[in-house]
Amino acid sequence: MSTLEVVWFVIVGTLWAGFFFLEGFDFGIGMQFVFNARDQKDREALYQAIGPNWDANEVWLVSAGGTMFAAFPFWYASLFSGFYLMLFIVLLSLIYRGVAFEFREHMPTIQGTHVWENLIALTSFLVPFFLGMIFTAMVSGTPIDARGNLSAGFFDYVTPFTLVGGVAVSLMSYVHGLNYTRLRIDGQLRERALVQLKYLYPVLLAGEALFAVLLYFYTDFIQTKAIQILALLVILVVTTLIGWFLAIKKQQETVPFILSGFALMAVVVLLFVGLFPRVMVANNPLHSLTVITASSSAYTLKVMTIVVLLALPVTLVYQIWSFWVFRKRIVSHKVIE
């Protein structure tokens, strides 16, 4: 195992974690088009809160997929062909979600606008749900042959563990989005978000506990890497607990938002730590793909490392600057219809 193979495993994990932190909240905002907004002014405020940023947030997903292709082509090939239909639903959802943000404001009637806004809410749930299912199914073991081809049946994909995984990622995104609403929007939306958070934090904690239990039965994570995995589970629960306390009791906004993002990232880190050095878990351990067997050549990894070292810092600077430009609070009842 070369250093660069490990580095690239970390980079791919980082991009996925960054994606869930960033697009996590705009999925959460998207779901609020149905579950929090009461009128058109609310929905306009929700759109304004993520309008300038959601597209760049999504590029983290494209980059995560692209770097998997570049650094671990055998992983990319097995995962994407093996989880065909789920990934198809994810892509389809992203297609409708992407055009919905643009189309909604051009619709001639308010009913037409609502169609797209309902689609935003639906797809904002479906994407994290199916990504959660794909990731949990990927780590719990699937029928992979010696060539790395995955041919699984319905019950390889759909288990209590993957369903909980899917719901958990969607719920965490929703909580993250509510925290973003608390941070960025003023007025009724912000107050209703607090009420919802009050009920959802305990549900989320229960879900995390259930996830931990199922993790024990459906993966070998706790058996093989007890200390790291338990530590990460504790981090996951503690960030949620602190977030709950600060958001509800102290009515803080910034720290709970960062913590709900960290919780999403903690799940990604947990899955990647548990996977390592594998990248795809096969039912037959001999067929599991690893960072060694799935990786690109040393030369390609070197080239890609240089590209990332040059590109990512610059990217981070302008993306953060963009968030700073749009830092002010949006007042929902004052946004023009």
């Binding site: 597209d55 770097t67 570049a70 650094a71 082509p73 097995s78 051009h106 390609t300």
Partner: protein, 490 residues
Amino acid sequence: MVTLVGILDLARFQFAMTTIFHFFFVPMSIGLGVVVSVMETMYVIKKDDVYKKMAQFWGKIFLLSFAVGVVTGLIQEFQFGMNWSEYSRYVGDIFGSLLAIEALVAFFAESTFIGLWSFTWDRFKPGIHVLFIWITTIGSGISALWILAANAFMQNPVGYAIDNHLGRAQLVSFGALIKNQQLWVQFPHVVTGTLVTAGFLVAGMSAFKLLKLKKGDSQIIFFRKSINIALVIGIIGVAGALASGDRHAFELQSMQPMKYAAMEGVDKTIDSSKRKDKAQPWSLISVTNPKTHKVIAKVEIPYVLSILGNHSLTGGNTVGTSELEKEFQKKYGKTHSDIKDYYVPENTLFYAFRVMAVGAGGLLMLALVALWMNRKKTTLILTQRWFLWIMGIAIYVPFVINTAGWLVTELGRYPWVVYGLMPISDAVSPNVSVASLLISNIVYFLTFATIGGIMVWLARRVLQAGPYAEEEEQSSPSDPYSQLAKGGEA
């Protein structure tokens, strides 16, 4: 075996369908990015509000096409893994890295700055704001560069070595990928093609609008100026596309002779030295029997193929498809015994190539006449309604040309997915079911037809409303904070 053929056909159909659809919107948004950037730059320089209105109005069309372009591009990023897993394994080392670089270097810049551009009209000085659209536009150009570097590798693989142990191609020279001769004929051709697409789109939409406007309407000046800017960009595009297209075809003689021979309808080798006029004739019309691969009818013009293929009035020779077939059988027969033949769909390539050439020539003339009719001194263009109709209909011509170009490029590399290295039939995912592919094909098709139709419908509505609609309605998708300020005062 029967099911495998099914998978291959369905996966190829999906690639063709999604790529063609994606490539309706890619040149449209890259080109519109340039048009809008130029308009906003003119606003910064001339400080005339009409140019700001132009950038904002055509910017709406740009944003609509950009949205559809982005979401249809998502499929491109992932379908290699989904439908072409064997391909991904074989060349992921090279191809994957180019795709990843595209995302890391170009997509982040495009998506961040398009957000900044569309939401901050009232917050930044014009001189700063115009930079956002330029960065977006340049970002999309850079994205084209990397994805074409990936395609160029498929057309003309360079900078690799085969690892027999892993059974795949591996990168040995990144510089060779960037210097790939194919890339540097393809990239200028695609970029100039985007200028053609957007130029004639803006001019044509303006023409349709001028047909509707009554005499003395204040919008007339807006759309006449739009036509001028758009067509100047369009002419630069057509001229560049013709020049780079000529270069591209010329280089094909050595890189992909079968593609070149099919494009020119040459089945039997033409050797100019053995001909009386010492020159190669060019087929204006040619029909090839798709079974025997023999030309059964043609109309020839003397000298022209020497001019095109030898860049001189006489001389040169063109190896015919039948001779190339024998050559390829000898060259690849042992290693790729499963490949039946190396012929490409001759008639499609032949006519697609002519569609490009004739279309470009027609557009060039149309643009010159239109600019002349739209001179400041006269109102000629307003009275010649038939001409406005032609300009409007000409919107569709670049889209047809773009599609024809990709048909030539992609069908012309048959039977290879990576030229000379990997046959298409070896590239498909073996573990994906016919049902999965069938479902995804049908749903993608319906989805694309729907969102494409809605996009066109909404763009027409934007045009109907006109550039000054917002001043009456007072609603703008732009900066939320400036709206807050207004709302606060109210």
